[in-house]
Point group: C2
Amino acid sequence: MATVNAPSTHTLVLPHSLALDGGQELDRVELAHETYGTLNADGSNAILVCHALTGDQHLASPHPITGKPGWWDRMVGPGKPIDTDRFFVVCANVIGSCLGSTGPASIAPDGRPYGMRFPVITIRDMVRAQVALLDALGIGRLHAVIGGSMGGMQALSLAANFPDRAERVLAIATTARHSAQNIAYHEVGRQAIMADPAWQGGEYYGTGQTPDKGLAVARMAAHITYLSEAGLTGKFGRQLQDREAKSFGFDADFQVESYLRHQGLSFTDRFDANSYLYITRATDYFDLAEEHGGRLVDAFAASQARFCIVSFDTDWLYPTAESRNIVHALNATAARVSFVELSAPYGHDSFLLDVPALDRVVKGFIQG
Amino acid sequence: MATVNAPSTHTLVLPHSLALDGGQELDRVELAHETYGTLNADGSNAILVCHALTGDQHLASPHPITGKPGWWDRMVGPGKPIDTDRFFVVCANVIGSCLGSTGPASIAPDGRPYGMRFPVITIRDMVRAQVALLDALGIGRLHAVIGGSMGGMQALSLAANFPDRAERVLAIATTARHSAQNIAYHEVGRQAIMADPAWQGGEYYGTGQTPDKGLAVARMAAHITYLSEAGLTGKFGRQLQDREAKSFGFDADFQVESYLRHQGLSFTDRFDANSYLYITRATDYFDLAEEHGGRLVDAFAASQARFCIVSFDTDWLYPTAESRNIVHALNATAARVSFVELSAPYGHDSFLLDVPALDRVVKGFIQG
């Protein structure tokens, strides 16, 4: 059995400037990425995994700040559904993020952090950077591109905009366009960050103050949308936190309050508030049909890839109807597409959690 | 045709101190209230309408700050479903609120505003104050108690705790207990307020600073839960606000962003942040079963009232399943109960909006 490469983050400086949908160009773009497994001689065994909103390149290696296992550790590794004994797996931190790739916390050419001078980016811009990374790694055509949530948007965008670059496209718990409700939740998060005086118009780097309170509120509001109502009830119900009776005060009486506060606070240890602004904006701007003349079917017209679209029955952030919308467009182009709605109690976050049926779908699709 | 009384707010100072569920007593409680119509000789034509979270006594009279029509103007008035030519209608601002009833902005016995020294109150405490008002108005037994959302909680609580005080109970778009998800959303709002430095631990009265930014974020997050995903899509979709193309910036590009920002900001003109903390806490604490030994059926055991429970098919804040839960408990006590799920596109807010089917249900139930 081959041993998996030691997963450590490498940083590629893109050899060319990156032209952005907003009309600007980014120079000296850095892409932090990890690879697992070995690229075979003809370069045909590469899988690109795209991470979600606040994810990163630590796909199956411990997170450097939290020490927790990689976010898809259960899915990626020797003998796992995405088998690193067979496949060369690449995962890059998206541009705009804060785990090593160029984003608002990066130093601009003038020697100061970009802050809000960083250009607004799109999902397609993220994908352009991913493709530049593939070029640098000598990967012409991916065996597969895979992603959940915002990672799924990238997978779909790659299929639409670089139709020759992937044989298989696996998009999980995602959508072809952000809905009004999706935008609304992100706008609440952005307003929470911008309302924090420590945000300072985004110029907080080096001031010793960061908008942690605003970012924590943003994360709390978003986190609820990642879970299902039934999942929250099953996990917490109205159970009290370390007490026998209600305190008649504003402490976190209920377990769900304590849990949410923890989710908010711990997030601020690992994520940059400005990156949160930029990445939520990128997803809000995402509308694959709009990019292709208003018809989603035209987005996929040039693709020869095989598609697999997966939704979860309790996901109300990107509900099954959004996946069906994608499948209908693919069907209209006579694409090869399989679609499955999986049952799992965890809501949107199901794609990250222990759902054995997802493992089987992923394994079957990439080996098929 | 009789003319409706000029609707103006009166304030009752409760003659006795109010014993609270938290163990404290509130002295000199003031209840701002409006009445419409005329109480008949035997006092049998009174209807108590209970308002929702951020509602007030301006049921069918213009709001003193916004100038907008009363929140249920369409439902209450001469010849309207709650016909003030026939009924004497009472609506009081709940304790804890900020439109004239005693709340955290009120002056405590020591001459300073209560702020966070105000005791945490419950829905049952609100109802105790409502019953004291009925006593003062000479109303022994209500023809009906009616409310939507938190108003529905009060209606159910009155039926459970003062079973002789209402002949009819109409509870709309409500629940018998706050779910984990309900609590989670409220906790996000509270944290947003408390994260605002202008909150100052609740001691902002007279400082010239109020936590408007935090309160606006709280309102934005909550407001999304009042609407339906389909309703948001139908109303806003991905339409841009006063522009032809996306700005690639952080302005409110999308109409839904502009709308939400307006909802948040305008709310701060009419509502006190500390009241928002206390009233959300009261609803989070609401669990009618818990108050009655853990069995909801026991809550209604002593009631002889007729019940009507109404839900809306697009309400995901208090979905139909919550109403069914109430109906099942009522059925188990052999109560007279009718139940209807109405179809309306507006989500939870349907109870406030133009849903003619609701008018018919309300009219039929109170005249039956």
